[in-house]
Symmetry: C2
Subunit: 110 residues, 2 copies
């Protein structure tokens, strides 16, 4: 069976801003309140998660997460209202893309 | 400036069937009549190009290219009518995707 597939992301002139992985990271931080835990769940290094979050927070004028550093377990992190809005807006884009993939007909036959 | 970006591909239950690189390879084979030249132009190994073409020809019931093996320069290759049709059908999908990317509005702001 022939199927159209793909992925989307949001970028600025400074490169990638939001993609599936970054949004999943934000969602997991929101769910568990810890960047370290979120990274673990995604089998991502803490450094990588920290860099991704830092890159997003640098590119947005309002931070998407706020971290309280240090302490056992690496401190806590909360997703800000702006962060929650961005998650919802990205999910909306994903939904439209899924719809595009499902509705787009192809004449390609094997 | 916030911009939606992405890529699409066509897959079957056996994995990827067509993507941007495979279509570019077919187009270059069609333009220069040689798989080796096409691979060179794309800075792709001849083996990789051969494998990609072989995978496509295996998955389609009609081959997309026909090769005359051997000889100096690795022999010639021609894209079949089926191959040309597939290129055109994929380009049509690409065009619809470009349109989707251009038309889809996002509320995300920095």
């Amino acid at each position: 069976m022939i199927k159209l597939a793909g992925r989307i992301w949001v970028e600025t002139e400074n490169g990638k801003l939001l993609g599936h992985g970054r949004i999943e990271l934000l969602e997991r931080v929101h769910a568990c309140g810890s960047l370290r835990q979120a990274a673990l769940q995604m089998e991502m290094s803490y450094k990588r998660a920290w860099d991704l979050i830092g890159d997003m927070n640098n590119q947005f004028t309002v931070p998407l997460t706020i971290s309280t550093r240090g302490g056992k377990g690496g401190g806590n992190a909360v997703v800000t209202p702006k962060g929650l809005a961005v998650i919802a807006q990205y999910r909306e884009l994903m939904q439209q893309f899924e719809q595009f993939l499902a509705e787009t007909k192809t004449d390609i036959s094997l």
